[in-house]
Structures are given as structure tokens and as C-alpha cells.
């Protein structure tokens, strides 16, 4: 296997109207590592993740997945050339995405949610797809909830189904966009536990999170964004250990009253 990073982001710029949300981000996510994106709200961390998931189209710059260009390739003079959507879809299939709002489809059971793309996109036989989906559901501890609709599941269970849905397609990179931010504190733990298992299994993960404790203990790398710029990146002990960057200090202050600082 080549030494190419799983995700490579180069000079990425994203504007919404007149507001520049990402001001030229360079980032490399190594294979098998857990990279945690942290930063205050409005720092652009979710936008960066959504650009990599192709839910937003960047205005400038390039993204490579396992060395292959995503969406746009660099032309002979460095200009952006849009790639055909078939190629883009092929590259995108390496990526699994988990949302803050879970985004399960309410008219399908947990099993239906996990099976859907296997049947519709991957053209698997329903029987085989369901078998695979059941394996995924039991990996997240929910085989007994397979027949339940999302409205019958707790937030934590819904998020675990959403993780199973993404994993069923056998991605080699998983993106998480604040996966625990809409959960009660007591439900956060069960989702983080699933993510921790996934990290230990060697999955490449890019996680936007406010769970500083999780980032510090599971993250191989911490990336701190502020106002659309990458301010600091490094191992958790480098980023969180003293002496630390002044902005990180201010940022962490907001967590002191939540007790997270004791984990550092």
C-alpha cells in the first residue's frame, strides 16, 4: 500500500455568499488514524467535513481520497477540472458519513435503513443484504432493535443505527459530524463506546466533536480550527499539553465548568 494519506485536503476555500468559511485549509488524515476536528462554533469544522463528504462543493482547492481526486482534479495549469459524476461516486464510496441529527429515514425500520443502500445501490439480494445488515446492527449492539422504526428508538440507538448504516457499505474512511451533540449526556457514552471500538479496529476516522475528553483519549491527532483557519494540529498531548496555544487555552476555558479539563 502506498504512503498516500487517506484524506488529503489542499488549499481548500469555501464561501457562502460573501462569507468565507474556509480560508485555504491544508490537512492530511493518515490511514488508520483518528483525527479530531475541534474549534468554536462557526470555525468551519463542520463545513470542512461536509466538503469532504461532498455535501458542500468547495470553491477552491482540492481533496484527495486514498490518492484519488474527489469531485475536482487539478488540470495542467493547476486549474480545477470537474470530474464525471461516475468517477466521483466511485471515490465517494470509500467514505461513510454520520450526522449530528442521525438522519435515519423514518419510514424504514433500523434494518431497512441499514439494508437500503446495499439493495438499491450495491444491488445485493435482499436476503444477503439483511444478513450483512444484521451483522452490522449486532456490532453496534442493536440486533434486538432491528424491527424498530427510528421513532421507537432512543437518540443513542438511532445514532448507532446510523453508524451501522454507514459501515454496512464497507467504507475505509468514516466521517463524523458532531455525532453526540444532540444526545443527552447519558446517551453520549454508548455512541462514543461504539466509536472507540471502531477506532481500535483500525478505521480511519475524521471526527468533528465537542467531546474534548473523547478527542484527547481516542484521537491520534487533534486539529484546531478557528475562523476558517487551521490554527494548531498535533498529537493530543502536544495540542492540549502545556505550553499551549493561546486560542486553545481560551477554548478549553469554556470546558472547565463541564469537568472535561480533568481528563487532560
Amino acid at each position: 500500500m502506498s504512503a498516500k494519506p487517506a484524506i488529503k485536503v489542499e488549499k481548500l476555500v469555501k464561501r457562502f455568499g460573501k462569507t468565507t468559511v474556509l480560508e485555504g485549509i491544508d490537512l492530511a488524515v493518515e490511514r488508520g488514524q483518528v483525527t479530531c476536528l475541534i474549534g468554536p462554533s462557526g470555525s468551519g469544522k463542520s463545513t470542512l467535513l461536509r466538503c469532504i463528504a461532498l455535501l458542500e462543493e468547495a470553491n477552491e482547492g482540492f481533496i484527495e481520497i486514498n490518492g484519488e481526486p474527489l469531485g475536482f482534479a487539478s488540470g495542467p495549469n493547476g486549474e480545477r477540472v470537474r470530474l464525471p459524476s461516475s468517477e466521483t461516486q466511485k471515490v465517494r464510496a470509500h467514505i461513510g458519513m454520520v450526522f449530528q441529527q442521525f438522519n435515519l429515514w423514518p419510514h424504514m425500520t433500523a434494518l431497512g435503513n441499514v439494508t437500503e443502500a446495499l439493495v438499491t445501490v450495491r444491488r445485493m439480494l435482499r436476503k444477503d443484504a439483511e444478513q450483512r445488515a444484521m451483522t452490522q446492527l449486532s456490532n453496534v449492539g442493536l440486533s434486538d432493535r432491528a424491527g424498530h422504526y427510528p421513532s421507537e428508538l432512543s437518540g443513542g440507538q438511532q445514532q448507532r443505527v446510523a453508524i451501522a448504516r454507514a459501515l454496512a457499505l464497507d467504507p475505509d474512511i468514516m466521517l463524523f459530524d458532531e455525532p453526540t451533540s444532540s444526545l443527552d449526556p447519558e446517551l453520549t457514552g454508548e455512541v462514543l463506546a461504539v466509536m472507540r471500538d471502531l477506532a481500535e479496529s483500525g478505521m480511519t476516522m475524521l471526527v468533528v466533536t465537542h467531546e474534548i475528553g473523547f478527542a484527547a483519549s481516542v484521537g491520534s491527532k487533534i486539529v484546531f480550527l478557528d475562523q476558517g483557519k487551521l490554527i494548531v494540529e498535533g498529537k493530543p498531548e502536544e495540542v492540549f499539553g502545556k505550553p499551549r496555544h493561546e486560542r486553545i487555552d481560551q477554548f478549553l476555558d469554556t470546558y472547565l465548568d463541564r469537568g472535561a479539563a480533568t481528563l487532560l
Binding site: M108, T120, E152, L169
Partner: protein, 222 residues
């Protein structure tokens, strides 16, 4: 004046025949209106900007004028532009156009009501646009729109009464004719009201049944 119940027996055969025409036009007009309305909504949402604008005008025109006026112009004004239709065809076409305008707006509200994230989740697992529409948006929307669709379909039934002015042989025309013949309008229109009401109740009951089947995932059992 007395309320003559014997007249009901007298009316019955005519009413049954006209009822068939009413039901047929109602169901066909609603089904076509639903379909055309859906196509309009999809074109407005996914088509180019100019198409959205081009379709906005006719939808607003139909919603902004009485059905009575529309059907009158279609039937009596049609021949001036070379559109000579028999009354049933004109009636069905009129109902379809009228229904399509309203149904298209209902479909549009459905598209708006689907959370963006549900569509993004579909994109992320590789569903293309058609698959997303067929597998995610449409089924989710059906559940959301069912009550208002049933409501609109009930209105469609009652609009068929207007078709009597272009002499479509439907229920209202039949009862008016009988009323004139026997000079018994009150009995006739009382029956007429009951028949429409029965049909509306049947339609609502069907809607409630469908809702109870579909809403399983909307309202948690626990």
C-alpha cells in the same frame, strides 16, 4: 309543501346512473390531477429556473379563479380556439387542470417538509437522485401529505357538482332535472347532500385507514 319520501324511490334509478358518472369523473380527475400535479412540482423543484417561473403563472391563475368560471370558459370558450370537447371530456380535463394546480402545491409543500439531512444521508450512501426520490422522499412525503391530500380529494368530489353547468350527466344535474320534472327540489337536494356526504365519509375513512397504517413510524408506540 310536504316532504315526499316516495320521490326517493322514484329518483333512485336516475340517481344511481348519475352517481356512476360523478364517481368516475371524481376518481379519474383526482388521479390525473395528482399525477400532473406531481410532475409540475418535480419540474418546478428540479427543473431549470425558467420552468419554475413558467409553471408558476398557470398554477396561480387556476388557484385564483373559480372552478365554475374555468369550466365555463373551457367548454363554451374552447371552440373559439378550436377546442371543441364533449361535456364529459371537458369536465374531466377541467377537473384535472384544477386538481393539478392544487395538488402541485401540496406536493411542493411536501418537498419542503422533508428534512435536508434525510436527502443528504441518501446521497452519502450513494443513492442517485431518482433513487432518492423513489425510495426516500416519496414514501416519507406520502405520510406527511396524506391528510391534506385526502382533504383536497374531498374538495374535488364536491367540485364535480359544478360540471352540471356544462350539462355533464352527473349527480347534481340529474337531481336538478328531476326536481324540475316533479317540482320537488328540496327532496332532491336533500338526497343529493346525503349522497355527497356518504362519499366524503367513505373517502375520509379510507384516508384514516391509510394514515393508521402509515403513521406507525411517525408516532412511537412507546
Amino acid at each position: 309543501m310536504t316532504f315526499d319520501l316516495d320521490l326517493i324511490v322514484l329518483y333512485l334509478p336516475d340517481i344511481v346512473r348519475a352517481l356512476g358518472v360523478t364517481i368516475l369523473l371524481w376518481l379519474a380527475g383526482s388521479a390525473l390531477g395528482l399525477l400532473v400535479g406531481f410532475l409540475i412540482a418535480v419540474a418546478r423543484r428540479y427543473g431549470p429556473r425558467w420552468l419554475d417561473w413558467a409553471l408558476l403563472a398557470p398554477v396561480e391563475l387556476i388557484r385564483g379563479t373559480p372552478f365554475l368560471v374555468q369550466i365555463f370558459l373551457l367548454y363554451y370558450g374552447g371552440p373559439f380556439i378550436g377546442l371543441s370537447l364533449d361535456s364529459i371530456t371537458a369536465g374531466l380535463l377541467g377537473l384535472t387542470i384544477y386538481g393539478a394546480a392544487y395538488y402541485s402545491e401540496l406536493w411542493r409543500s411536501g418537498f419542503v417538509a422533508i428534512p435536508k439531512g434525510h436527502v443528504e444521508a441518501a446521497q452519502c450512501v450513494g443513492l442517485n437522485r431518482t433513487q432518492t426520490l423513489r425510495r426516500i422522499i416519496l414514501p416519507e412525503m406520502t405520510m406527511l401529505l396524506l391528510p391534506s391530500m385526502v382533504n383536497m380529494t374531498i374538495l374535488m368530489l364536491k367540485e364535480t357538482a359544478i360540471l352540471s353547468i356544462i350539462s355533464v350527466p352527473e349527480l347534481t344535474l340529474a337531481v336538478s332535472a328531476l326536481g324540475t320534472k316533479y317540482y320537488a327540489f328540496v327532496e332532491g337536494f336533500a338526497i343529493l347532500a346525503l349522497v355527497y356526504w356518504a362519499l366524503v365519509e367513505a373517502c375520509s375513512a379510507l384516508g384514516r385507514y391509510a394514515e393508521s397504517r402509515l403513521s406507525k413510524y411517525r408516532f412511537a408506540v412507546s
